[in-house]
Amino acid sequence: MTRLPVRALTRLPAALPPAEAVLAVSGWVALAATTLPPALLPLRAVVAASFLLLCPGAAALRLTHPARAGHRRDPLEAAVLTVAFSIAIDTAVAEVFFFTRSISTARAVGAVALITSLMVLVPAAVRHRRRAAPAADRPAEGRPPT
């Protein structure tokens, strides 16, 4: 079983591709937007709705590797599944809060943000560690192998 790459996780931010970095922070931006004053409600609504409709699904999609061997990359499939996965994740989170009677703005948006971040960061950390591992095994330049 793969061990949770906590150490790699802490070194990640600089190593993330821009798209993944945006996804990882998107939920926290949406959470911050919930604290905007009422005068900025339209901005809050746009930020939060965009996050809920796109970001959890986009993060999940990266886990499912839609471009399988033998199949071409399919932007339409990616778009459809992004929205569908987002709706499914949002609904699952909302139902947990519903049955536990514990919904609040911060908890609900924070939970979706956390799930989105983890779906981006954990695979990236695994990737990062795999790349780093062979490099560590290699002898440093100029030093004879021991």
Binding site: T34, L36, L52, V80, V83, D90, T91, T100, I103
Partner: protein, 640 residues
Amino acid sequence: MTRPAAPAPRGVRTDRPPSAGAGAGPRRPSVRALVTRGALPVAMVLWLVSLRHVRLERMDDLGLIEVLPVLFWVALGLLTLGFAVQLRGPRLSHAWSAAYVVGLIAIVHATPSLLHPDVRYSWAWKHVEVVDAFLRHGGPVPRPGWLDIYNQWPGFFAVNGLVLRATGLPSAMGYAHWATPVADVLLIGPLILLYRTITRDWRLVWGAVWIFFSCMWIGQDYFAPQTFGFLLFVTVLAMVLKQLAPVRPPGAPADPPPAGATGAAAVREGWRPTRFLMVLLLVAVLVTSHQLTPLMLIVFLTALSLPRRNRRVVLPVLACAVVLQAVWLATAARPYISANLRSFVAVVASPDANAPTWLTGLGSPAPGQVLLAWVDRGLSAAVVLLAAVALLRRPWTRRTALPYLLIAPMPMPALNSYGGEMIFRAYLFALPAAAMLVSALVLRTGAPARWRWRVRLRAVASFALLLAFLGGLVFGYYGKEMMESFTSREVAATEFLYRTAPAGSLVVTVTNNVPDIDKDYDQHDRVVIAWNQLENRKLLVRDPLAGLDQAVSLAAPPGPVYLVLNRAQTAECYITGVLPADTVPRLEAAVDGSHLFSPVFRNSDAVVYELVDHNAPEIQPHPQQQPQQPRSQQQHGGQP
């Protein structure tokens, strides 16, 4: 001899003209290009201009059909012409195809939203109120009354609660008004994904999408769990069919054969774990959000698992769907299931009892509605018939998943009436496959040069068929507008009611067709006389005041009692015949002359009465009276 271009599973490549390179002269815009690029913007302008001349107050039997001006119909015809022409052009543009489909959705589905200031469908109002109640209580609603079913399938409402919390919007009412066109636009993607597992011929794909939206007349695309469930259902189906599509072996042609196709080169992969988990998540959300859609999914997956070659992909999803559904019914939904199990079994045991409720009313449907019913059913029958012909005339369709997707929902009406709606729901779920089959039958392109006249004839015939589909659609979709829309004066009446009625009040109506009547439904009791036992309804027809008194006495209310009568209840009685058309006006006249009730709010479209004499013998419960109908039968007033 040159064979006609076969729209076989592989289809024709549509990104270049078939005769490209053969004597291509200098480019100039052809008539076809001008029609393609001009029809859409002109149609949209004509449509928007036409809406300024709609007189909603003149609506009668046939709803919006009677009041939409000629310009509206010209716009719809022009849009169809532009789409048909561009579909048969040498180069198919995805951008134009998509724009035409969005244009169709705008004209057909956004027109009511633009014409009415308030949300259509009393059920959409209820769903908004359920979201509000969920948020008010932070979870399941205590004392939900007859809306208890939503506590047990909360997915759609819970996610809307999350959206409201995150966006800070005060209510879902604002976006519920636009739910229909938005949901339809969101459905385009999953439909294309589904169709592309069947064929690579983009003409057939876009044609099927157009036909789907031209024939979806049953109005299950509003702010409702069914709309939400159908979107996820089509997505799950598309994912399963995509997984069924064989993987291209090294050296094989670039385009793999369609899902369900047979052949030596067909190599199917199993599910990747993460993708399978996401499919399961979608299924789980479906199971927790709607009663019917997961059952339909199970039926569809069962049908798809019949061919042995599909089982490796389909059976794991089917098994998980069955387990999830069983677990949900045995746990969260158990109260509803145990309360209604007997009626479910009774319905299954007597399929002849599954008649539409409008056939069992005490009145007669409006004359226009009889015509409308024939057109609706004619459109549905024509679509299914053409789909069946396509299976015979286009052999390649039989090698795809289409036959299974078409036939799968057909047995469902025999199992449960779903308030008389099951046959229409079955049509809805069969429609994606039927639309593709009809597209394959009528939008076939290409023919040898000596058969050009046949090509032109076929083009004209297919254009006429697309127009006929739209003609049928508007009857079903707009024909009940008189009862499905509400005026601001009717909304004002219920706003007044819930500003003044204390918690614990009983609110009585003749039918349930009142906007926002279930506001704060956990704090008020409701009586809908049209859902009461036959004796009470007959008494209401014979002697309106006595029928009302009996309905109140049956409920034995401990608190204040209000009676709400409005234009839309009159319209529902007239349109559907659930009660004689004059029931509501006669009741209003009788109550005006009664000493028991006093009007506390009145305008030209609605009136609210309050019971002033709680001790009158007419409204006291009698020991010999039978109790109200079971809740399961009350649900038949409509389905979420």
